[in-house]
């Protein structure tokens, strides 16, 4: 029997907000794989786009506090399901690792001692740690009817010097996971093109245009669904799918799954259990 895995967990604001379907999905899925999540006690927002756009110090300090809290809690690995959070945590960690003076300053600012680590993992990396062979062995319902376009978005793979994950131009890590589940991922051209990120409220047209192009390319390459590992991408591609279609004078009907939905479905978990029934696009001519 495989030993249970215990990971530190940094949900981030989105997963406790309107993207709580993502948290439902990953908790159900990881629970079925004997992975327990130890949430960082009293974690704070990583600062997201607004911190790095408006205050450079804050953009280091906010993630740094979370790294310090994790260390205090004895967590050596922290799973951050949102790539904005994971990228900011990694970037702040690297900045302080190479500049001891900065680390000291930030430790003072955030009222917690910052050390090296913990190691930050994204959702794909969690499945890689569990092991694709083990995943393959645990599949009860191969996803053979699914032809997903694996969508990475921006911050899972960029900037490569910060996230050091997969290949920034031709990534294949997500495809490897879904292929292990029996699905048939398509090769397409918009894997790492931006969906419009945090502009959903502030400048909706940008999101509609960029996300629309992504959906159009997925369809053009034969996909019947999308897979993502980012709550922001999910909102832009799922909640905004109908509007994006209108913007481009096209009609889209592509379910957008979280990668944990895919794994969960293959393990035999139900749509309600995974929270898939809470998505906007359910597919099948909606």
């Amino acid at each position: 029997m495989n030993p249970p895995m215990n990971l530190g967990y940094y949900p981030g604001c989105a997963l406790h907000g309107s993207s709580n379907d993502y948290e439902q999905s990953l908790r159900a899925c990881l629970g079925a794989l004997d992975v327990t999540l130890a949430e960082i006690d009293d974690w704070i927002c990583c600062g997201a786009t607004s911190a790095h756009s408006l205050n450079h110090k804050l953009a280091v300090a906010l993630p740094a506090r979370n790294l310090a809290l994790a260390h205090r809690q004895g967590l050596t690995e922290v799973f951050a399901p949102c790539p904005m959070c994971s990228m900011q945590l990694l970037r702040a960690g690297q900045a302080m690792q190479s500049d001891p003076r900065l680390r000291q300053e930030i430790s003072g600012m955030v009222e917690a001692e910052v050390h090296d680590g913990p190691c930050v993992l994204n959702l794909i990396q969690v499945f890689q740690r569990i092991g694709l062979d083990r995943l393959k062995g645990a599949v009860r319902t191969p996803l053979q009817d699914l032809k997903p376009a694996c969508y990475y978005g921006c911050l899972l793979v960029r900037p490569p010097t910060v996230v050091e994950f997969d290949d920034a131009e031709q990534p294949q890590s997500m495809e490897a996971v879904v292929a292990a589940l029996g699905a048939k991922p398509v090769e397409w051209s918009y894997k790492t093109e931006c969906c419009g990120a945090g502009m959903t409220m502030a400048k909706t047209e940008t999101v509609l245009e960029l996300s629309g192009r992504i959906l159009a390319n997925a369809v053009a390459h034969g996909a019947n669904c999308l897979v993502v590992a980012c709550p922001m991408c999910h909102v832009n591609l799922d909640m905004k799918q109908h509007d994006a279609g209108e913007f481009l004078h096209m009609k889209f009907d592509l379910p957008v799954y979280y990668l944990s939905d895919m794994v969960g479905m293959a393990l035999g978990l139900g749509a309600a259990e995974l929270g898939i029934d809470r998505h906007f696009v359910v597919g099948g001519g909606n």
């Binding site: 131009e169 051209s189 390319n217």
Partner: protein
């Protein structure tokens, strides 16, 4: 030694402005052993040299110190001057009171005191100098040329035409190099093979050129004038003495679909194949990696078909030794590989351009083969995916070059010119086609070059956009190229039928190993190092080894040919005398005190120290010792530093001399 003459130079104002030369002369004249001291405005000029000669005669000097500029400038001048006066030229020392004194200090008093100190050191040293004679080594007047591209061929022909034998070694089954695969050359648009093949044939038939094709240099021993080279002749499985080059074997070979190396994968060749129709030698070779007979003892049709019985499946690699006196390295280049696989972890590929993923994204040499009249598509530009003629071609410059992030910082020099050429070749074939070029700068500095690029733009209608391309993707058989034009300040997106990448020029594979064999340096990009970038562009710091062509740096054909002739002339200079002379300031080992620990043998960077035995007349072994080969030693002093028994020393820079200089100063 007690009759030393000291000559202090003003060097015009260069020294005299800062150093009080009269005061210096007065101080030096007081030193023991100094017979005469004087100063003069320009010691290196004729009157200055005459002064030295006169004083040597008049005062019967037995040692001379010239205090002036760096020995790099005029050591040879002054040595010749004292030699003509009858004094051994190695009884001369120079004190550098210019670069090491007047040019770096401002305070007159301090600089003068320092000059006196420097000259005092030189006086102390010259007192311990010994008469030395230049070392003479015999010369084997044969040359080795490594690489049979246009540079190697040119060098070989020039050396052979000078009257010396040349051994020409080429790794591929035919000579010709990259130029043999080009379509037309800039700026004249000459057919490349038409201008090259006469040279290839001449090299193949020249009575003084011994050609080893499908061969590699595996070992080099010895020194200038006396190299012993080991060459591996790889097995062709074809008996060259019997084969008539009729080509029937290739016709009958059933394994027709191997990617052709000559066509860079744009065409196919059988397992037994002629490299290309104009190959020299015009004989086929069997690819042992794919031949069914060699792998699993199947087939064998070519052997049955061959009338003269030239197929020999029992062929093996052969090792050959050649003795030569000089080596010319002309190993040429390869193209940066663009995709993920690179031969260094400091170099990265362009995943964003889809090379290797999309069939119609090709590199510049592949494009040359597609437009070449004798190419895999007979000169019709058919794109690899579906054979259709592309109506819109995008050419991307600087792929790999000038890209610090990918690991290659340098400019590859020829791509701007050949890209303009490509647009012209394309437009000449596809009149209605559109040629689009993304560039950063246009480098067209040669004769007629700038005019050539303007012709491509103004007459042949090529469209040039000043900006790099960010990404290439494929949709419905079209390649979407996302670039920019910074002159207009806008993104530019083009839907192309084919994309040609101008990939960086890099040194050929295996050059680092070859350079180590030859003791030739190479830079961080793998290009071989010349002795001096301005004044000695074809020599290396390994005596007797010369470089030419793209292995030294990216360059075009006229430059490669010029360098090849230059290297050949250096070889001729080396062979001009029946003996070579070398400077005698080299190491020697006191064989009586040598403990035979051989630390020197292990540490010598030039492999110049050998293990030797001293035997009695009856053959009994007396002792082991280390012994310096006077032909190879470069006088670096490493052996002196590591010798635990103080048996190693350098002539002209002995420990005694060095210590005397230090004592003179203290």
């Amino acid at each position: 030694m007690s009759r030393i003459g000291v000559f202090v130079c003003w060097c015009g104002e260069n020294i005299a402005r800062t150093v009080d030369v009269q005061k210096v002369v007065d101080a030096i004249a007081e030193l023991p052993g100094v017979r005469s001291a004087q100063h003069y405005k320009y010691m290196c000029a004729d009157p200055g040299q005459a002064m030295i000669r006169e004083k040597i005669a008049a005062e019967k000097l037995d040692g001379v110190v010239v205090a002036s500029c760096s020995p790099h400038m005029h050591l040879k001048t002054f040595r010749r001057a004292v030699a003509t006066a009858g004094l051994n030229p190695y009884l001369l020392e120079m004190a550098n009171i210019r670069e090491q004194c007047s040019w770096v200090h401002h305070d007159r008093d301090l600089a003068t005191a320092k000059a006196i100190g420097l000259i005092g050191m030189a006086v102390a040293k010259v007192r311990h100098d010994r008469k030395l004679e230049p070392i003479r080594v015999p010369v084997t007047r044969r040359a080795l040329v490594i690489g049979g591209g246009v540079a190697g061929i040119q060098a070989a022909l020039d050396i052979a035409d000078s009257g010396y034998e040349v051994v020409l070694v080429e790794r591929d089954p035919s000579i010709g190099g990259k130029m043999a695969g080009l379509s037309e050359t800039f700026p004249t648009l000459d057919c490349s093979q038409c201008i090259l093949t006469p040279r290839m044939v001449e090299a193949g038939q020249h009575p003084r050129i011994r050609l080893y094709t499908y061969s590699e240099v595996e070992g080099v021993e010895g020194f200038i004038g006396n190299f012993k080279v080991t060459i591996r002749q790889k097995a062709r499985y074809v008996d060259m003495t019997k084969c008539t080059g009729c080509g029937e074997c290739s016709k009958v070979c059933p394994l027709k679909r191997n990617p052709s190396e000559f066509d860079y994968g744009m065409g196919m060749r059988p397992a037994i194949y002629m490299p290309f129709p104009q190959a020299v030698p015009a004989r086929p070779v069997i690819d042992k990696k794919t031949c069914a007979k060699i792998i699993r003892n199947g087939c064998g049709l070519c052997e049955k078909k061959c009338a003269p019985g030239a197929i020999n499946f029992k062929d093996t690699d052969r090792m050959v030794e050649e003795q030569v006196g000089a080596i010319v390295v002309a190993t040429g280049y390869k193209l940066y590989s663009i995709g993920r696989e690179q031969n260094s972890d400091k170099v990265r590929g362009y995943g964003e351009y889809g090379y290797g993923k999309y069939k119609d994204v090709i590199d510049s040499l592949q494009f040359e083969r597609l437009v070449s009249a004798s190419g895999p598509t007979n000169g019709e530009l058919k794109r690899p995916s579906d054979g259709k003629i592309p109506q819109k071609v995008v050419f991307i410059s600087c792929v790999g070059s000038r890209d610090n992030a990918k690991g290659l910082q340098y400019c590859s020099k020829i791509c701007c010119m050949y890209t303009a050429k490509h647009t012209m070749l394309y437009k000449h074939k596809v009149h209605s086609g559109e040629a689009h070029v993304f560039y950063m700068d246009i480098r067209a500095g040669g004769k007629g070059y700038d005019e050539f690029v303007r012709r491509a733009i103004e007459q042949d209608g090529a469209k040039y956009y000043r900006g790099r391309v960010s990404k290439v993707t494929e949709e419905n058989g079209k390649l979407i190229v996302r670039g920019a034009d910074t002159l207009a300040g806008i993104p530019v997106i083009i839907e192309a039928d084919m994309v040609v990448l101008a990939a960086a020029m890099r040194p050929a594979d295996g050059v680092a190993e070859l350079a180590q064999m030859l003791n030739v340096g190479y830079d961080e990009n793998g290009f071989l190092m010349e002795s001096h970038p301005k004044l000695r562009p074809v020599e290396t710091n390994a005596a007797g080894v010369f470089v030419c062509g793209a292995c030294q740096a990216p360059k075009d054909i006229p430059e490669a040919v010029a360098q090849a002739s230059a290297a050949a002339s250096k070889v001729a200079v080396t062979f001009a005398a029946s003996e070579l002379t070398r400077e005698p300031e080299i190491a020697h080992i006191n064989e009586q005190t040598c403990a035979a620990c051989f630390a020197c043998v292990r540490t010598c960077p030039y492999h110049a120290v050998e293990k030797a035995e001293i035997r009695a007349r009856n053959g009994a072994l007396i002792k082991h010792t280390a012994r310096v080969n006077p032909g190879l030693c470069m006088g670096c002093g490493t052996c002196v530093a590591v010798c635990p028994s103080k048996s190693a020393d350098i002539e002209g820079f002995s420990e005694e001399e060095i210590y005397s200089m230090v004592e003179a100063l203290v």
